[in-house]
């Protein structure tokens, strides 16, 4: 008898668990559908998202999209024009540069650097910024004052100047570029999160959690954090575009990843000498930067409308 009862209990527990999971899944799908319904309304955001997705796919699938080596010079095919001009051919769809390297191959391999730096820097910056923003906004007082003065100080330095000086001192290379950009980047999510936390602290749900004796950590991470997540996602998305522009500027100034690794900014810089005659060498990589950043910014605006109606103008 007891054995059967235990079995029955197990069965009931398993069933409720299953139902709970199912409901959670349905809720998630519902949320995603709701999000997509709102996001889809903004046509430009959909186009922007598509552009970004295309660049990400190209970057990942680069070896399958082109058979050219992006770094190996080919002196028999120097400064060939793109396919749409009279002397162009499909062998080099976007032409070749001054060392005979395929520009299409260099652009899609270059996407790896730009996107990697954009997402990694913003990812780490968001983690640091959210943590410090929560602490700063929640505890206030002296720790808040210290963090805010550090932010004020960092904001006083023009981003590009600080990044240039830091890379100049640390030396070029992927890791140092990430560090140099991270040095200031965390400030942006931190400020947003702090502001949101200050607003959330006044809300009833936080008050309620505190009244029933929830710990600071619980209130910060379980109550406040989920509510500031939406604006953090929006701001971080928009920041990815800015960081990609920063990296491109650094590599344009000769402080990016070391050649011959393709990076969009340095491609523009290398092609500058030929701007009068072979305009495509520097114009096309520049166009890649522009389209990627525009796509990300359009996406950010769409996310803002879909996730956080109160952020709208």
């Amino acid at each position: 008898m007891n054995r059967y009862a235990a079995r029955a209990d197990e069965f009931v527990i398993a069933e409720t668990l299953k139902q709970k999971l199912l409901r959670a899944l349905q809720r998630t799908i519902g949320n995603i559908q709701e999000f997509w319904r709102l996001y889809r309304k903004n046509h430009l955001a959909v186009i922007g998202g598509a552009v970004v997705l295309i660049f990400i796919s190209l970057a990942i699938l680069a070896p399958y999209v082109t058979s050219h080596d992006p770094e190996a010079p080919n002196f028999r095919a120097i400064r060939r024009p793109p396919v749409w001009s009279k002397e162009g051919s499909w062998t080099y769809p976007l032409g070749t540069d001054h060392l005979g390297r395929d520009i299409w191959a260099r652009i899609i391999y270059g996407a790896r650097i730009s996107l990697f730096i954009g997402f990694v820097v913003v990812g780490f910056a968001t983690m640091i910024g959210v943590a410090l923003g929560l602490i700063s906004g929640y505890y206030g007082g002296r720790i808040d004052a210290v963090i805010q003065r550090v932010i004020d100080t960092l904001l006083a330095f023009p981003y590009l100047i600080l990044a240039t000086a830091l890379v100049g001192v640390l030396g070029p290379g992927l890791r140092n570029i990430v560090l140099a950009l991270l040095y200031k980047e965390w400030v942006y999510p931190c400020r947003v999160v702090r502001g949101e936390v200050l607003a959330a602290k006044e809300q009833e749900y936080v008050e309620a959690a505190r009244t029933v004796g929830a710990s600071s950590r619980h209130v910060m991470f379980k109550e406040i954090l989920p509510n500031v997540l939406a604006s953090t996602v929006v701001v971080s998305t928009l920041r990815v575009g800015s960081v990609i522009l920063m990296e491109a500027s650094l590599s344009f100034l000769g402080l990016g990843v070391e050649p011959p690794t393709p990076a969009w900014g340095s491609m523009v810089a290398e092609g500058r000498r030929f701007i009068n005659t072979e305009w495509w060498i520097s114009t096309l990589p520049g166009l890649a930067i522009f389209l990627t950043v525009l796509g990300i910014n359009l996406m950010g605006e769409g996310l803002r409308d879909a996730l956080d109606p109160k952020l709208r103008e």
């Binding site: 330095f157 590009l160 100049g168 900014g265």
Partner: protein, 335 residues
Amino acid sequence: MDKILQRLLQTIPVLIGISLIVFSLMHLAPGDPVEIMLGEVGYVSQEDIELIRAELGLDRPLPQQYFSFVAGILRGDWGTSLRARVSVKELILERLPATIELTFAAIVVSLIIGIPAGVLSAVRRYSWLDKLGTLVALVGISMPQFWLGLTLILVFSVGLHLLPGGVRLAFDIPAPPTVTGLLLVDSILAGDWAAFWGALRHLALPALTLGAPMSALTMRVTRSSMLEVIRQDYVTFAKAKGVKELSVVIKHALRNALIPIVTVVALNMGSLLGGNMIVERIFSWPGLGQLVVDSIRTYDYPVVQVAVMVYALTYVAMNLIADLLYMRLNPRVRI
């Protein structure tokens, strides 16, 4: 008065922070900064290294180095360039006017483009004009500045031969005698109109490149600030009185919308100053930004330190002025 004093006091920790960051720049270098600096030269004896180390004060303990660095800055002794062997102050003062002229021109460009576009967008809200304006602004923010500069050169200099694509003044026009270092001002002072026209033409493309992202921003702020004001009672009242639309927009609405515009423009000076580096490089503009890049390339750390500091201090000063202006213009503000 209290507020102003409080605001002034707030800048003190920031100034200390700036000095700390600038000071630490030289010490962030992996390995010995002197050896890195001399690495390019080739053969260097240990004695030379010690000599330069002593000259830079690197043989003393860190806190002592920091205090003498700050004391030097305050005294006006900004050190000596390792490459040019002249004082850093001289180098920077020589480059500063070109950068100031370019920056001001860019601000003017961004206001000339941004404010009318923003007003138009706000007045015709949700029209195709407004949507187009918003899209153009987004394009302006998304475009890499060096690419915009090169494209402008390609179109206006190489293609159409309309505007020069580099340097401050053509080589065949004699520069006016230097008074302020700002070519436009100097040529007016000298009554030299050929030089004035030449300098203005040379300024056009760099100023447009530098001002483009800023005009996008100015446009967006103007739009939202105008939308805020248009809803106010006094604007409705003016309209009801039968005042002409143009007059309502300019006299009643724009005047009041200007306060946040001024603030945002001043607050975003940072990105404008940062963009200098790129624009000066593309247009061979002999300013501070070029000096920073060149000095970084040659490991001329004393120049880098002071130049970076000048940028940061300019930003702090602009910020302070904007805040004080804001407080003065808008008595409702409590900072």
